[in-house]
C-alpha cells in the first residue's frame, strides 16, 4: 500500500478500495519501523488517527459531502512551518517549546482539502545547512543503503538520539546523509511514511535532499506559494516546496496550495489557473538548454554520465538540445553567502525571549537578557551568520558587500532571462555534485563550506526566482540515487512539470522499497 503514488492513493481512498484508517495505520507502522532515520521531530499520530476516522465517516454519511481532493491523505511538514497547537521548533533550542497560535497558509490549504499531518520533520537548525545534520534533534539518515537494525524497529516510542547542542559530530556511524535542509521530509517520503511532504527551498533545501533520497523535489516560482507561516531564512528567496514520489503527485499538491494569499505581499495577485498534467507528452518542439557552467569542479563521474544520458535522450527523441551559457553561475554561491547572512542577521533579531521562544535567566538588563538568550538559543551556524550578516550591513560595508551582491544577483537573473529569450524552454542540469555523501565525509567540513559546495547547482535558481524540479534519474554505480534538475521560466510551472513528467516516464526510476521492514517483527 505504501508503494502507491499519491495520485493512486487518493483514487483508492475516493473509490473506497482502501480505508483511510488502514492507510493511516500502515503509515504509522512504517513510521515506527523507520525511527532510526530520525526524520521526524514531532509525530502527530493521534491527530492522524482522528483525521483518518473522520474521512471514513464522511464516506458513510447519507448526505453526499464534497469529497475533497486530498481526503484521507497523510502528509509530513517540515518543522519550520507553523501549525496551530503543534510544536514548531525549526530544530533549534530557541524555539524548542514554541507552539504557534496559527497555521501556515500552505499547510492550511492542504488540510482544507482533506490531507492530515502525520508529523513535523527534522531539519537543519533554522534551515541553515545542506545536510540536515545541524539541528538539535540530531541528524537525519538517508534511507538508501541504511542498515536498519531490528532491535529498534518494534519500539513505539521515539528513541531520538538526544545529541547535545554543542556536540554534534561525535557519531562515527557510516550512513549517508539525507541532504538538507529539508532532509526529514525527503526521508519521510522516500521511506514510505507519507505520500507527500512540505519542505522549504532557499538555496536548494528541497531539491538537494530530493536528489539524495531519490524522490521528486519541486521548487515553484517565487511568489506562487504563500510564505505566511513559514519561518523565514532568506525572505527574498524562500519558497515552500514539495516532495513526492512522482511529478504528477507534486502537481496535485501544488494545485491545491498555489494562489494569492492576502497575508503574504510577495505572492502574485494574478488568478491561479488550476491544471492537470497530460499523460501523452510530445517534446518535438522543445528546446532544451545545457548550461555549460554546470560542469563544475567536483562533479562526479556518475552524475555527469546521468546528465549526459538525459541530454542525449531528449535529443534522440526529437527535441532540440543546445549548449548555453549562464556566465555568472560560479559567483552565485558567493552572492548567496552575503545575502543569506544579511537576511539571517535581520530575521533573527526578533529572538530575544520576551514574546516567545527560549528566555535566559539573566535579568540584569535587556541587553544582557537578549545576549544570554541568543547565546543559549542559537547554534554556532546561526550565530556565525548573524555576525557575518551584521558585518556586511555596517554602514561602511553596505555598498561593498550587500549592494554588490544585489547587483550580482541581477546579473544572475539576467543570465536566465537572456537564455530563455534566445528560444530555450527549459534548462537541464545536475542537482548535486555527487550522490549522497557519508555522514563522516560531510562533517569533516564546516557548515558554510559544505553549503558552498553542495548548493552550487541549486542556488542560482533561487536568485532568479525561477521554478525548478529535481527528478530521480537512475542509481549510481554504488547504488545511490542521482537526481537531475530541470529549470523553467518564471510562472511557467506547468510547462516545467510537463517536461519533467516526460523524463520520468522515460527513465522509470524505481522507488526505494522498504516493504521488507513490515515483515520484520
Amino acid at each position: 500500500m505504501l508503494s502507491l503514488t499519491l495520485k493512486e492513493a487518493v483514487h483508492k481512498l475516493r473509490d473506497g478500495s482502501i480505508t483511510a484508517k488502514d492507510l493511516c495505520e500502515k503509515c504509522i507502522e512504517r513510521l515506527n519501523k523507520t525511527q532510526q532515520l530520525n526524520a521526524f521531530i514531532t509525530e502527530t499520530v493521534d491527530i492522524s488517527r482522528d483525521s483518518a476516522a473522520e474521512t471514513d465517516k464522511r464516506r458513510q454519511k447519507s448526505k453526499p459531502m464534497r469529497w475533497r481532493k486530498l481526503e484521507g491523505l497523510p502528509i509530513a511538514v517540515k518543522d519550520n512551518f507553523c501549525t496551530t497547537g503543534i510544536r514548531t521548533s525549526c530544530a533549534t533550542t530557541m524555539l524548542q517549546n514554541y507552539i504557534p497560535p496559527y497555521t501556515a497558509t500552505v499547510v492550511q490549504r492542504l488540510q482544507d482539502e482533506g490531507a492530515y499531518l502525520i508529523g513535523k520533520t527534522n531539519m537543519d537548525e533554522f534551515a541553515m545547512g545542506s545536510g540536515s545534520v545541524d539541528g538539535i534533534h540530531g541528524p537525519v539518515r538517508n534511507p538508501w543503503k541504511y542498515k536498519f537494525t531490528s532491535s529498534n524497529t518494534s519500539e513505539q516510542t521515539k528513541p531520538i538520539e538526544q545529541v547535545s547542542m554543542r556536540n554534534y559530530h561525535t557519531s562515527t556511524d557510516d550512513w549517508h546523509i539525507a541532504g538538507g535542509s529539508s532532509g526529514g521530509s525527503a526521508a519521510a517520503v522516500a521511506s514510505g511514511v507519507c505520500f507527500g511532504a512540505l519542505g522549504s527551498d532557499t538555496g536548494g533545501s528541497t531539491r538537494n535532499p530530493a536528489a539524495y533520497c531519490g524522490v521528486v523535489g519541486f521548487k515553484p516560482t517565487y511568489g506562487m506559494l504563500s510564505r505566511h507561516g513559514l519561518v523565514p531564512l532568506v525572505n527574498s528567496m524562500d519558497v515552500p516546496a514539495l516532495f513526492s514520489k512522482t511529478v504528477d503527485d507534486a502537481s496535485i499538491l501544488f494545485n491545491v496550495m498555489a494562489g494569492h494569499d492576502v497575508h503574504d505581499s510577495t505572492t502574485v495577485t494574478d488568478e491561479f489557473n488550476h491544471f492537470t498534467l497530460p499523460d501523452n507528452i510530445d517534446i518535438k518542439d522543445l528546446h532544451i538548454g545545457i548550461p555549460k557552467e554546470y560542469h563544475a569542479p567536483g562533479l562526479s563521474k556518475d552524475v555527469h554520465n546521468a546528465w549526459e544520458e538525459a541530454a542525449d535522450m531528449f535529443e534522440k527523441a526529437g527535441a532540440k538540445v543546445t549548449q548555453v551559457s549562464l556566465p555568472h553561475t560560479q559567483y552565485s554561491i558567493l552572492c548567496y553567502i552575503v545575502l543569506n547572512c544579511c537576511e539571517v542577521a535581520s530575521n533573527m533579531a526578533r529572538y530575544d525571549g520576551i514574546e516567545f521562544g527560549h528566555r535566559a535567566a539573566n535579568e540584569d538588563s535587556t541587553e544582557e537578557l537578549y545576549a544570554a538568550t541568543r547565546h543559549e538559543g542559537f547554534n554556532d551556524v546561526v550565530r556565525d551568520r548573524i555576525l557575518a550578516g551584521n558585518y556586511f550591513l555596517l554602514r561602511q560595508n553596505y555598498e561593498k558587500y550587500f549592494a554588490k551582491a544585489m547587483q550580482v544577483r541581477r546579473l544572475i537573473s539576467e543570465d536566465f532571462k537572456k537564455v530563455y529569450a534566445s528560444g530555450v524552454d527549459i534548462l537541464l542540469t545536475p542537482t548535486t555534485l555527487t550522490t549522497a555523501p557519508t555522514y563522516k565525509w560531510f562533517t569533516e567540513r564546516d557548515n558554510r563550506t559544505s553549503s558552498e559546495e553542495q548548493d552550487i547547482f541549486t542556488q542560482p535558481v533561487n536568485m532568479a526566482g525561477v521554478p525548478a524540479i529535481s527528478v530521480p534519474s537512475k542509481l549510481s554505480t554504488d547504488g545511490l540515487p542521482i537526481g537531475l534538475q530541470f529549470i523553467g521560466q518564471n510562472f511557467k510551472d506547468k510547462e516545467l512539470l510537463t517536461i519533467a513528467k516526460w523524463y520520468e516516464q522515460q527513465v522509470q526510476f524505481k522507488q526505494l522499497d522498504l516493504d521488507y521492514l513490515d515483515t520484520v517483527s
Binding site: Y98, H228, V231, S265, T266, A349, D352
Partner: protein, 530 residues
C-alpha cells in the same frame, strides 16, 4: 575673560619732555563674545496616521485600549508572519504630502532599521529611509505675539511611512519594564524638515501650523497629549559666519510648550557650554517637564549603526497619476495621486489668503481667525447674513471682543449663544453709528445673558442709542461753550488738549449718549467759527 592691557610703545612728549607710554587693550583669548550666536533647529515630527487599522497589520488602531488587545501576531513579531500594507495609510501619506506641497515619489521602497529595544519585538522597525513616499515640500506659517508678526516658509526634506513602537512602563523599584504592544505597528508619517528654524518660538509656531494642516485634512488628530504627534528637535549653535556646530537631538517633545521651552533651554545650554570652553556632544536628550530642562537620554556612546536593509517582504510601492493609471491592466486597486489631489480641502494658508483677498482684511487679523478653530465659519456666516456690514469691523469685534467674552465664560465658539445673525445686526448698529463702540461691548454682554433678545431691542430697552442728531448735539456744545469761556480762550491760544476737555464735558452733559465723532466735529466747527 577680562581684557588685559599690554604695553605697545613709549615716547617723549615734545612739550614737557616727559616719557609717556601708550597702551593697547589685549584682545580676549577668543572672539566668542564679540560675534552673535546663531541657533539652528531642524525637526522630525512623528504623526500617527488616523486609520482604523495599523500600517502592516489588521489590528485596531485606537488610543487607550486594554493591554495587548490591539496586537496581531505580526505586531508581536511571531515567526512566519509578514507585513501587508494598509491602503488607507498610503492615501493619508499622499494627502499629507500634497498638503505640504511635496513631490510624491511614484515609486517608494521600505527598509528595515535595526536596533534592540524591548518595545520593538522584531528587533527592527520598517521605515522608508532610501526612497521615501515624498520629498521636497514647504509650509508657510506665521510667528506672532503681541508685538510682532512675521510670515516664514519652512522646507520639508521628506515624508516617510513607518511603524510606531510599543510602550514600556518602567518600574524602577522592581527593576522591570512592562511592555504593551497595542501601539506597536501603528502607522506613522515621519515629516523631516530642513534645519530652517532659528529658535523655540519659530519651531513651535511651525508645529502649530502643521497641526492645523493635518487636522484640516484629517490624516492625524494631532493630540500631542495622547502621543499622536511627537516632535524630535535637532539643535546646534554657531557663531555668525562660522560653520555649523555639533548638534544634539531632543526627543519626544509632546506639547507645543515643550517644543518651545526645550529648544530655548537647549540653545542656552549649548551657548553657555561653549562660552565656558566646553564641547557640545552629539547625543540624544529628552525634556524633563518637571524642571523644564533637557537631560541626557541614552548612554554617552557612539551613535548606533542601524544597518539599514531593504525590506524583502514588501516589493516597491507604485503610485500612479491619471496618465499612468491607464497603463495598469491588473484589477487590483491602485492609488491615483491626482484623485487624491482633488480631495484636498482648503488648507489654513489657502483660507488666510482667501480671507485677505475676499474681505480685504489684514494678515494679522486673518491669522487670528484661522488660528482659532471655528472662528472662520462664524465670521463668514455673519458676513453671509449681513453682506453690507463692514468685514473689518466684524473681524475686529470678533477678535477683540467676542473671543474675550467667550474666554471669560469658558466657552468655545461652537457653544457661543450669540447667533451669527444677531451678531451681524449688532455690528450693523455699530457700523451705522447708532451705538458707540463701548456701548456695543455692553450690548454684547447683554446678548450673552439674553440671547433671545435682538440687539436693537436691547438698545431700545436700555436706552443706549447714540445721539447723532446734529441739532441736539450743537445745542449741547453751545451750552458747554457758554459755560466755559476760559477753556475757549485757552484753546484759542493753541492748547489743543482743551478741545478734548470741552468734548468730554459735552459727552457728560449728553449722559454719555453723544456720538463722539460727530460731537467732536461740531465742537471743532463751533470753536473755529466763533
Amino acid at each position: 575673560m577680562a581684557a588685559s592691557m599690554q604695553k605697545i610703545s613709549s615716547h617723549i612728549c615734545q612739550l614737557c619732555k616727559r616719557r609717556y607710554l601708550t597702551f593697547k587693550h589685549k584682545r580676549s583669548s577668543s572672539n566668542l563674545k564679540s560675534k552673535p550666536w546663531k541657533s539652528v533647529v531642524g525637526l522630525e515630527i512623528h504623526a500617527q496616521i488616523n486609520t482604523e487599522s495599523k500600517l502592516f497589520s489588521g489590528a485596531e488602531n485606537k488610543f487607550g485600549g486594554p493591554t495587548n488587545t490591539q496586537v496581531s501576531l505580526f505586531d508581536a513579531a511571531f515567526p512566519g508572519t509578514l507585513p501587508v500594507l494598509n491602503k488607507g495609510c498610503v492615501e493619508a501619506g499622499v494627502l499629507t504630502a500634497l498638503a505640504l506641497r511635496c513631490t510624491v515619489n511614484k515609486v517608494s521602497k521600505f527598509d528595515r532599521k535595526h536596533y534592540f529595544y524591548a518595545d520593538l519585538p522584531a528587533g527592527y522597525q520598517i521605515t522608508q529611509q532610501r526612497q521615501p513616499l515624498a520629498v521636497k515640500g514647504h509650509v508657510d506659517y506665521c510667528i506672532s505675539d503681541k508685538n510682532s508678526f512675521e510670515t516664514k516658509t519652512a522646507n520639508i526634506t521628506q515624508i516617510q511611512l513607518e511603524q510606531d513602537s510599543g510602550k514600556s512602563l518602567h518600574d524602577e523599584k522592581d527593576r522591570i519594564s512592562l511592555i504593551d504592544l497595542n501601539r506597536c505597528g501603528t502607522g506613522l508619517m515621519e515629516i523631516v524638515t530642513e534645519p530652517d528654524f532659528s529658535d523655540g518660538t519659530d519651531a513651535s509656531a511651525f508645529v502649530k501650523e502643521l497641526q492645523k494642516i493635518l487636522q484640516t485634512i484629517k490624516t492625524c488628530d494631532c493630540k500631542m497629549e495622547e502621543g499622536s504627534l511627537r516632535v524630535d528637535a535637532n539643535i546646534s549653535v554657531h557663531k555668525l559666519g562660522e560653520p555649523l556646530g555639533i548638534r544634539t537631538e531632543v526627543k519626544n517633545l509632546n506639547s507645543i510648550k515643550s517644543v518651545s521651552k526645550a529648544i530655548s533651554f537647549e540653545v542656552k545650554r549649548q551657548i553657555e557650554l561653549l562660552e565656558n570652553g566646553g564641547i557640545v556632544e552629539n547625543e540624544t536628550r529628552s525634556f524633563d517637564t518637571e524642571i523644564d530642562e533637557t537631560v541626557p537620554m541614552r548612554d554617552k556612546e557612539v551613535k548606533t549603526d542601524y544597518r539599514f536593509m531593504p525590506e524583502p517582504n514588501l516589493p516597491p510601492l507604485h503610485l500612479f497619476d491619471s496618465e499612468s493609471v491607464k497603463t495598469v491592466s491588473s484589477k487590483m486597486s491602485v492609488i491615483n495621486i491626482d484623485d487624491i489631489q482633488q480631495k484636498l480641502p482648503p488648507l489654513p494658508e489657502d483660507t488666510r489668503k482667501r480671507l485677505e483677498q475676499q474681505y480685504s482684511l489684514k494678515r494679522r487679523d486673518v491669522a487670528v481667525l484661522v488660528d482659532n478653530s471655528g472662528l472662520v465659519d462664524y465670521f463668514e456666516d455673519v458676513m453671509r447674513l449681513s453682506p453690507t456690514t463692514s468685514a473689518k469691523l466684524v473681524s475686529n469685534f470678533i477678535i477683540n471682543q467676542l473671543l474675550g467674552v467667550l474666554n471669560d465664560r469658558k466657552l468655545t465658539i461652537y457653544k457661543c449663544p450669540v447667533k451669527t445673525e444677531d451678531f451681524g445686526k449688532l455690528i450693523d448698529l455699530l457700523h451705522t453709528e447708532e451705538i458707540s463702540y463701548s456701548t456695543s461691548c455692553k450690548v454684547l454682554d447683554e446678548m450673552f445673558e439674553h440671547p433671545n433678545i435682538a440687539p436693537k431691542d436691547i438698545v431700545d430697552q436700555k436706552d443706549w442709542r447714540q445721539i447723532s442728531d446734529t441739532q441736539i448735539l450743537t445745542n449741547i456744545c453751545e451750552k458747554v461753550l457758554e459755560e466755559h469761556p476760559k477753556l475757549i480762550s485757552k484753546y484759542r491760544k493753541g492748547k489743543l488738549k482743551y478741545l478734548h476737555t470741552l468734548v468730554n464735558k459735552a459727552v457728560i452733559d449728553s449722559n454719555n449718549k453723544a456720538n463722539p465723532r460727530i460731537l467732536k466735529q461740531i465742537m471743532e466747527d463751533l470753536l473755529d467759527n466763533k
